[in-house]
């Protein structure tokens, strides 16, 4: 893949928060990219910095955040861009879907109004036209009898429908990049499958690039083309999805895979493996591998210097580990 083909390029992105107990580093030199029509999954435990990474793309972090590095959308730098130009990017170029569809929708506005709003602001169309488009969008994301649902308030819809509304809102202006932050976490498994289907369908029909943030490897396996594994604010492994599941090189990835149930595993004898220890506190980013304390293979090298993200085996399989699990 050539650099020119990439829609979104994130390079050396670091985010820290100024707090009373000092600087907390949430994201540490993260790099990732997204090609047109590609679905990239970002996976990691809670607090690994995946959501902060997502929010920083369009400058949605609170004022207390210090962001450095580079986020380029079709070559245009977004880090440090003025608020007014970021506003033109949000919703139009980079759109978001959030985890909790109940709290992420405004309870006092109809869903039609909330979808129409994004069209009115970016496409300067009338409220009436926006409403008509909102109905089209609701049918696009698979909501039955969209013409009546458009006047519903969020509390009148089920969780799955609300998330479909969120998606309709996000794709309203046909965004280049769709960032889905845990889009299925709050939903039933059957509803999850439907939501992932909608996302895949949108990619196929509109060619939207999707960055999906999740802690669920099942979701990644289902929908992603490539995977970025994050741990304690750093990218530890990056690979195409089938390659990663077949040959995980980082012991954290390995741990994640062993901690996920797979069909065929015998429940009685073959227990899920947990990763010992906890995610480190992010106030100090030591000059070491952040996973060293929990890693069975860690030695003095791991504790003395941070491993770079480097190709191993296949060219587009990158891993940040001094002692990677060798390809078999």
């Amino acid at each position: 893949m050539t650099a020119g083909a990439r829609i979104l390029e994130v390079a050396d992105l670091s985010v820290s928060f100024v707090t009373e107990s000092g600087n907390v580093s949430a994201v540490d030199h993260v790099s990732l990219d997204l090609a047109p029509g590609e679905i990239v999954g970002v996976v990691g435990e809670s607090g690994c910095g995946k959501s902060v990474t997502a929010m920083s793309l369009a400058g949605l972090l609170p004022r207390s955040a210090r962001v450095t590095g580079s986020v380029r959308l079709r070559g245009t730098e977004l880090i440090g861009a003025p608020e007014t130009s970021l506003r033109r990017v949000r919703g139009k170029e980079i759109a978001y879907i959030f985890q909790e569809p109940m709290t992420s929708l405004n309870p006092v506005l109809t869903v039609g109004r909330q979808i129409g709003e994004v069209l009115q602001v970016h496409e300067r169309i009338s409220r009436k036209q926006a409403r008509a488009r909102a109905i089209e969008l609701l049918s696009l994301v698979g909501i039955p009898s969209a013409a009546t649902r458009v006047d519903n308030y969020p509390h009148q819809l089920s969780g799955g429908m609300r998330q479909r509304v969120m998606i309709a809102m996000a794709v309203a202006c046909n965004p280049t990049v769709l960032v889905a932050d845990e889009p299925t976490t709050a939903l039933d498994v059957t509803v999850q499958a439907g939501i992932l289907e909608v996302l895949r369908d949108l990619r196929d029909r509109l060619g939207t690039s999707i960055l999906i943030i999740t802690h669920d490897l099942g979701v990644i396996a289902d929908i992603a083309d490539r995977v970025v594994v994050m741990y304690a604010g750093r990218v530890v492994e990056r690979a195409p999805v089938t390659e990663l599941f077949a040959h995980p090189h980082h012991r954290y990835t390995n741990g994640l895979l062993n901690a996920s149930p797979t069909p065929g595993r015998h429940a009685g004898t073959d227990r899920l493996q947990e990763i010992p220890g906890l995610v480190p506190v992010l106030t100090t980013q030591p000059d070491a591998c952040t996973f060293a304390d929990r890693c069975p293979a860690a030695d003095d090298t791991c504790r003395g210097s941070a491993p770079p993200l480097a190709a191993l085996g296949v060219a587009d399989h990158l891993v940040a580990c001094w002692h990677p699990v060798e390809a078999t």
């Binding site: 978001y96 959030f98 992420s104 405004n106």
Partner: protein, 318 residues
């Protein structure tokens, strides 16, 4: 929606009936025989019996209550014991003054309070918030009768910008009317403005950190739309509750303010009646105040349902 309104109207009507019973019994339960009070010097049994017969005081309480309700419904609250003027006539001149004063005070308080509250929340931790907080503290802690006296001293007596007392009916001279009433309204509104400001600020801080505000920002909306349409609209329910609750306080505040500025309103009429033990007037005043509370509560509920769609549906389900 219609069902919600009907339920609320029914509840209001019930409360009103109960309130009128309490007012009626409350007056009867007061120590002292009203016939004695009315009789003055001539306290012969015949005279007292005549008075009791004239006012129906010799009838059973239920019959008396029936008469009282019947007459009250026709707007007949009897006549003042002291002046002989029908209470309804007194109300006709006093009520417009108080309604105008309260309405202006609420308008001023809401405009100042909501405005300052939003600014304090949006500019959290910056000088604008400190100024708003300081003003709210002053508004809350300074008694408005003292503020009223200061205003008269400096704005009326010393500079002559505003008249110190008196009133001109709106329809006779609109400009003069506003000139007379704006200062009392401002003074009356300050305390309420401070309360509204503090509530708006905390409600806005909640809304501003809500997920739907993040969504609104992620859509690329302008700060004005994010704050006004998304955050403020969700905060308004708290503000409306506070305004509704404080309206009662406003009525008692109006009593003091009217006294200070010499406005011939409902409050002044109440105070005079209490000092002169003018029972028919007191009875009418208490009943009217209770009614005002109930009507205001009903209106607040109505506004709730306009702001929050969830209440409309909950009412329909009930």
């Amino acid at each position: 929606m219609a069902r919600y309104l009907l339920t609320r109207a029914w509840h209001s009507a019930l409360t009103l009936v109960l309130a009128s019973v309490v007012v009626f019994l409350g007056i009867r339960a007061l120590p002292g025989d009203p016939a004695l009070a009315l009789a003055g010097e001539d306290r012969s049994p015949e005279a007292l019996a005549a008075i009791r017969a004239e006012y129906g005081l010799d009838r059973p309480l239920t019959v008396q209550f029936g008469h009282y309700v019947e007459r009250a419904l026709q707007g007949d609250f009897g006549s003042s014991i002291r002046t002989g003027i029908p209470v309804s006539d007194m109300l006709r001149t006093a009520l417009p003054v108080t309604i105008e004063l309260s309405f202006l005070a609420i308008l001023i308080a809401t405009a100042l309070g909501v405005g300052a509250g939003v600014v304090a929340a949006v500019r959290r931790g910056r000088p604008a918030e400190w100024v708003a907080n300081f003003l709210a503290l002053v508004g809350l802690s300074v008694p408005h009768f003292w503020l009223g006296l200061l205003a008269i001293l400096y704005l009326s007596v010393a500079t002559g910008l505003f008249p110190a007392s008196g009133f001109v009916p709106f329809f006779e001279d609109p400009v003069g009317n506003l000139h007379h009433i704006i200062l009392p309204a401002l003074i009356l509104g300050t305390g309420l403005a401070a309360i509204i400001m503090r509530q708006t600020r905390s409600a806005m801080l909640d809304s501003l950190s809500a997920d739907y505000v993040r969504t609104a920002k992620a859509k690329g909306l302008s700060p004005r739309a994010v704050i006004g349409r998304h955050a403020l609209r969700n905060s308004l329910i708290v503000v409306v509750t506070i305004v509704g609750l404080q309206l009662g306080g406003l009525i008692s505040g109006a009593v003091v303010t009217e006294q200070i500025f010499g406005l011939p309103g409902f409050g002044k009429m109440t105070i005079d009646a209490v000092f002169q033990r003018d029972y028919p007037v007191i009875q009418a005043v208490v009943l009217l105040t209770a009614t005002a509370y109930i009507v205001i509560n009903f209106l607040v509920d109505l506004v709730y349902s306009l702001i929050d769609p969830r209440i409309r549906v909950a009412g329909d389900a009930a």
